[in-house]
């Protein structure tokens, strides 16, 4: 058993010459068709246990959210958009406008019919640059790999559960049967063999793209610019900036609505950023306790 005092392990400095380029996911939700091949491929490759699914009545989503036994999760959002102009206009105008928009923008499968919009998005562990789970883990079980990803070492995890509440995205959870915490490894085993993660390989529309993080970010910038050029002003990148509250995501997204619509926090901040304040308050309160108890004996001394 090695014994050491650590700050949070970092990529690439912890690895020196063994560091590999940082990899990640770019999940482009504008082309997600909600097929859930990613959920299935992840479960199969990583031998993630099955769950007892119920009917949730939340569109086509009966699996709910990420957890110990779900490392990819496809969200389905049904939105009825305000389409006032179409409601007010005579039929022929509507048909004319639809034809015009078809010619200009191509077929938009998610905006068919009477203003119903479907948003679909495959959620995953964000593999944060500053990971709350990694900072919180008291055993050193959670570590940063040579690829810059964040992985739980299952032979060390003692199931303390601190990472569960330290994650701003609610990614990690405890598996009841074995008491340990499980999450996406970004297919660490496959990365070591130069293979792409199972979910990205299974994705039939390339909504999930795997690769060098810097290259993925460039690709995402081009994609969002293209969508906006085509009039999709609502397209935005989520987690692609190093300036955010977790220092940038290893797995980031192109979204077509606000993050919270997809069950994503709009401004996630790693708890560790506030740790100095938490410790300062804790020490101040300890000092106050020493002073208060000491004061109770002043004057009464024999």
């Amino acid at each position: 058993m090695s014994f050491y005092v650590v700050d949070t392990p970092t990529w690439p400095s912890t690895y020196g010459e063994e560091a590999k380029p940082r990899v990640g996911f770019f999940t482009d939700t504008s082309v997600c068709i909600g097929c859930k091949a990613c959920e299935v491929a992840c479960k199969e490759w990583n031998q993630v246990p099955s769950e007892n699914l119920g009917f949730r009545g939340t569109s086509y989503d009966n699996s709910g959210e990420l957890g110990a036994d779900r490392w990819r999760h496809v969200a389905f959002i049904e939105q009825r958009l305000p389409v006032g102009v179409e409601e007010a206009a005579p039929d022929s105008w509507v048909q004319e406008a639809a034809k015009q928009s078809l010619l200009e923008e191509g077929l938009e499968t998610h905006r068919d019919g009477d203003g119903l919009r479907w948003l679909m998005s495959s959620d995953v562990c964000k593999h944060c640059t500053q990971a709350g789970c990694l900072d919180a883990c008291p055993t050193g079980s959670i570590f940063r790999t040579e690829f810059g990803t964040v992985v739980v070492q299952e032979d060390i995890c003692n199931g303390c559960g601190y990472c569960v509440v330290a994650c701003p995205f609610g990614v990690l959870d405890q598996r009841e049967e074995d008491g340990r915490v499980w999450k996406c490894t970004l297919c660490y085993d496959r990365l070591k063999e130069d293979m792409e993660p199972a979910c990205a390989q299974a994705c039939p529309t390339d909504s999930i793209q795997f690769g060098d993080l810097a290259e993925l970010r460039r690709r995402a910038e081009r994609r969002v610019a293209l969508l906006r050029e085509r009039g999709r002003e609502e397209a935005r990148l989520y987690g692609s900036s190093d300036d955010d509250g977790v220092g940038g995501f290893g797995a980031f997204f192109l979204l077509l609505d606000e993050p919270e619509t997809y069950r994503l926090p709009p401004d996630p901040v790693v708890p560790t950023r506030h740790a100095p304040k938490a410790w300062a308050a804790g020490l101040a309160a300890a000092g106050a306790m020493l002073a208060g108890i000491g004061a109770a004996f002043l004057g009464g001394r024999r």
Partner: protein
Amino acid sequence: MSRAETRLVPPEKPTTYYGRPIVKPPVWKPEIPFYFFFGGLAGASSVLAAAATFAGRRGLARRAWAGAFVGVTASPVLLIKDLGKPSRFLNMLRVVKVTSPMSLGAWLLAANGASTSYAAALNLLAPRRRGGAHEIAAAALGAPLATYTASLITNSAIPAWSEARWEMPFVFASSATASAAGAALLTVPDDEAEPARALAISAVVFEEAATAVMHKRLGPLADAYKQGAAGRFGHASRALSAAGAAALAAGRGRRDLSAAGGALLLAGAVCKRWSVFKAGFNSAEDPTQTVRIQRDRIARDGSGA
């Protein structure tokens, strides 16, 4: 200035994904709020015992050392029992990790457990002992033992905990002090009870004030402390602590009233930790809390930390 006054966006109902939580509720079991209580009892009792030893109040010191010993003995048992893999509890001691309050807390508990047990043994076996380095060590490690659990839960993504980072340690410190004094008052003879009695009553007053400040500064997030089981435990804690303080105030020279007051304070401290614990679940399970504080932050500061 309260959060409500600084709000820049209208308090409309935030968007959520079918009302499902964003952050995960804790997986911690009932051992954890009891550990918060026993850790607080242990830490504050160490300080009380050391102070009483130095002040030459031997009867009070002996009872406080016993309380500290009970606390440091119960604490690791509860912590280990709560682990998903109890057989791996020693993994907690394979690293000292400065970014993890739980790691530092585990070391603090280990260090305080050793120093308090030793000081308690010295004082219980040799009652005429005067205070020295061992008592100072136990007190110095005891005070942070009582407050680090507050820092630990506020160092999380759960809004009603993390936004209470400045006040929570003071709530824990005062509640722990009340429980330490309460435990000693269960059995201490009247001629030695006075410092513990005064301490207990002022700790209850301070706890009430710190809790009120915490709720006020939390603004709408304070709902998490007022709903469901958290609210019921909160009410119970206030009632028990207030009744305990009243019994102590009226109980000068009456052994039975003092003991009853001490017992009420202990029960109030247990309920306080349960209230805080349950509030974390309420807050995590309500995605509008998570979205609202982040939208407020974006409106106020732009973005980021």
